[in-house]
């Protein structure tokens, strides 16, 4: 596949960028239900449907639970299916999210990250997608609109890979990315079609000459084996994520992997984050580097499957690590990212590490907060001792 000479740079919100990617993928069926801040994504896509720009059957269901139910039904019936939601919408479809994964439906769902109620809050945090981290879906996080667009296109390839056949959740920060206009490069329609290829369904209920049963009852004699199949498929996902990311890089000049390291090679203190906050961290890293501080960012793109190898490699030379979580796991040893990172470092030569929770319910995170965290872990760097206490950035006592 040759590199594309003609690329287009346009200004789009994150939501519109995803809608554009979906238009180019041109899925057979999209069932969806509106929820802030995903709504404009749906509106834009609905425009495409009404204008006949896509062949998609848009199913405007009466709840998110029905959205995922219809998605599973359509996927089982041989269609390429996509959908999108946020927060409580994801929570409402939770039951079926698990079933989509266990049924091995290669769905692609964009999750415009928003805080789970309660209290009800429509702004950005990661509690929604983190709540689904055990559902069996692959989860990719996007730093900006460009990544959201790129991730959606790659997600189709990753989900449909015959070694994987696992649905993919593409996450982008609600409002911060979904509603912010940024310039981004889109690739031509034909290139997208060539990249994703024609859909070759594994499940096709519509072939009544080859009837099969989808969604049986398992007793204790089979459930475990079916689950192990899912685990094994997820173990194959890292290689596929990587190879698709390399191929995409050849096509666009933007290569993707499981993580992105930013000035970590000689960094003494490394911060770990997901999503749009990585942009803020990068800017702060640049500022601190001007002052001679050796700091860096490890951005995690693929949260599921968790990139253990890449995390160990990136942190190998660090003297202290600060992990930022934009969701809490009450009663656990820190937020979800903290727990994964600490677990990845177990048994390795691990630098001292401290977890922070920030930005819940859309609470802003700014360079001062980043500097605060980098500052606080300075002592850890010299003492060599980890902190068991979770820090909070931007909370009033």
């Amino acid at each position: 596949m040759k590199s594309i000479a003609a690329k287009k740079v346009i200004a789009l919100t994150g939501n519109d960028a995803v809608a554009e990617a979906m238009r180019q993928v041109n899925p057979d069926v999209v069932p969806a239900y509106p929820i802030t801040p995903q709504t404009e994504l749906m509106h834009k896509f609905a425009d495409y449907v009404s204008d006949g720009d896509v062949k998609t059957e848009l199913v405007l269901v009466e709840s998110e639970h029905s959205a995922m139910s219809a998605a599973v039904g359509a996927s089982a019936a041989g269609s390429r299916v996509m959908t999108a939601t946020s927060a409580n919408g994801l929570a409402l479809m939770w039951e079926i999210v698990y079933i989509a994964a266990s049924s091995r439906c290669p769905l692609v769902m964009t999750v415009v990250n928003r805080a789970l109620s309660g209290p009800i809050n429509i702004h950005c945090d990661h509690s929604d997608s983190m709540g689904a981290r055990d559902s069996g879906w692959i989860q990719l996080h996007s730093e900006n609109g460009q990544e959201a667009y790129d991730n959606v296109l790659q997600a189709v390839r990753i989900a449909e890979d015959t070694d994987v056949l696992t649905p993919v959740m593409v996450c982008l920060d609600g409002f911060i990315i979904s509603h912010t206009i940024e310039p981004l490069e889109v690739i031509p329609d034909k290139t997208v079609q060539e990249f994703i290829g024609e859909f070759r369904p594994v499940h096709n209920l519509l072939d009544s000459d080859k009837p099969f049963t989808f969604g049986p009852l398992d007793f204790h004699d089979y459930y475990f084996e079916h689950k192990v199949q899912q685990i094994k498929a997820m173990e194959k996902a890292p290689n596929v994520i990587e190879s698709v990311g390399i191929e995409y890089g050849k096509l666009t000049g933007r290569k993707y992997g499981h993580v992105e390291t930013y000035k970590t090679e000689d960094a003494e203190r490394i911060m770990i984050a997901l999503g749009s906050t990585c942009g803020t961290v990068k800017a702060t890293v640049n500022e601190l580097r001007e002052k001679g501080e050796k700091v860096g960012l490890l951005k995690i793109r693929s949260f599921r499957p968790f990139p253990v190898k890449e995390v160990r490699e990136a942190l190998a030379g660090a003297k202290a690590v600060a992990v930022l979580d934009r969701s809490a796991s009450f009663g656990a040893q820190g937020g979800p990212v903290m727990m994964e990172v600490r677990s990845a470092l177990y048994g390795e030569t691990a630098p001292p590490i401290k977890g922070y929770i920030y930005g819940l319910g859309g609470r802003d995170i700014n360079p001062d907060h980043i500097k605060q965290a980098f500052d606080e872990v300075k002592d850890m760097a010299s003492s060599g001792k980890s902190s068991d206490e979770t820090g909070f950035l931007g909370v009033r006592e």
Binding site: D28, V29, E57, V59, A71, A77, G215, P216
Partner: protein, 319 residues
């Protein structure tokens, strides 16, 4: 309308070897429906008796494409299947004529599945939704649903010292679906197989949603001898507890009029779930009054009689 002999020459699409209780009406219903529908269908099933007994891994009794997803969403799941068909047909990727049938128990239809069914009906998918109504959550142990009729004892509303079983009427689900203004809505019974088959054929010919509510007697939950399943269904029809009617593009008609409308007690006396009603004659009377009211409604909708004429003293005084 095929004769019984013609139907017998068609392929059996539900095999033996499923684990339904001996004498279960649900599988009789499925057999009759699939004999009418043929093999170019996709069947969806809500979690419940039918789903559990027919698909215990690695066995499946279904010889047609079949999907089970969860309890409350067979209507939205089949909406998805049907949408895929629409999309792929529109793209020229599929040419075959196919139909889509969703089976749900009363639990998965009247209660937890109501939203999904209502949504699917409003969106106009070309699908047939069949409720096999055994009037309780049978698979999980006979718990009451909103389809459980007044006076019936269930495991969650047992007839005890203080409370005589269920004290609410059962939902009039068929009328709720008719209110969605879908092309075809009907009530049927496995005892009247000819009427049932006709209704399924009619439903499948409609270019839009159809709903058929089929009474499915359950000898475990209703407490009657298993060989009486068809007889109990017949009595339900003859007492007008379960009238057979249809609303076809807005036109109502009664498709079977009992020669003699039997009292409700002919139906309830045969079932253990109503045994305590001898101590609560007023509850049985409530049930009778409600059945009579609904029968009058159906008659009036079908052009027989008048809903305004109440056979009671107050009405007489008002007149």
């Amino acid at each position: 309308m095929p004769s019984i002999k013609e139907l017998s020459k068609r392929e059996e699409l539900l095999t033996g070897g499923h684990r339904a209780c001996a004498g279960c009406a649900a599988t009789i219903i499925v057999r009759q429906v699939l004999l009418a529908a043929g093999k170019d269908v996709v069947v969806g099933c809500a979690t419940g008796c039918l789903e559990v007994v027919t698909t215990i891994f690695p066995y499946s009794a279904w010889k047609v494409p079949y999907i089970h997803n969860a309890f409350e969403n067979v209507a939205s799941t089949i909406s998805g299947v049907e949408s895929s068909y629409r999309s792929l047909k529109r793209q020229g990727k599929i040419k075959k004529e196919m139909r889509f049938i969703a089976f749900g128990g009363d639990g998965g239809t009247y209660d937890i599945g109501l939203q999904a069914l209502s949504g699917a009906a409003e969106r106009g998918h070309r699908m047939l939704y069949i409720c096999y109504d055994n009037e309780a959550y049978m698979n999980t142990g006979i718990q009451r649903s909103s389809a459980t009729p007044i006076g019936a004892a269930t495991s969650t509303c047992p007839a005890g010292d203080e409370i005589p079983g269920k004290v609410q009427y059962h939902k009039d689900m068929t009328k709720i679906m008719a209110a969605h203004r879908i092309p075809y809505v009907a009530q049927a019974s496995p005892s009247h197989w000819n009427d049932l088959v006709k209704k399924v054929e009619k439903a499948l010919s409609k270019d839009g949603p159809a709903f058929i509510n089929i009474l499915s007697p359950c000898h475990r939950g209703w407490r009657y001898p298993m060989e009486d399943t068809i007889e109990i269904a017949r009595l339900a029809v003859e007492t007008c507890f379960w009238p057979l009617y249809e609303c076809d593009e807005g036109t109502w008609s009664i498709t079977h009029t009992p020669k003699e409308k039997l009292p409700l007690s002919e139906f309830t006396d045969r079932q253990g779930r109503f045994a305590h009603l001898k101590e609560y004659p007023e509850l049985l009377q409530s049930g009778q009054d409600e059945i009579d009211r609904r029968w009058r409604e159906i008659q009036a909708l079908s052009g027989i009689g008048n809903l305004c004429v109440m056979p009671c003293e107050e009405a007489g005084e008002q007149n």
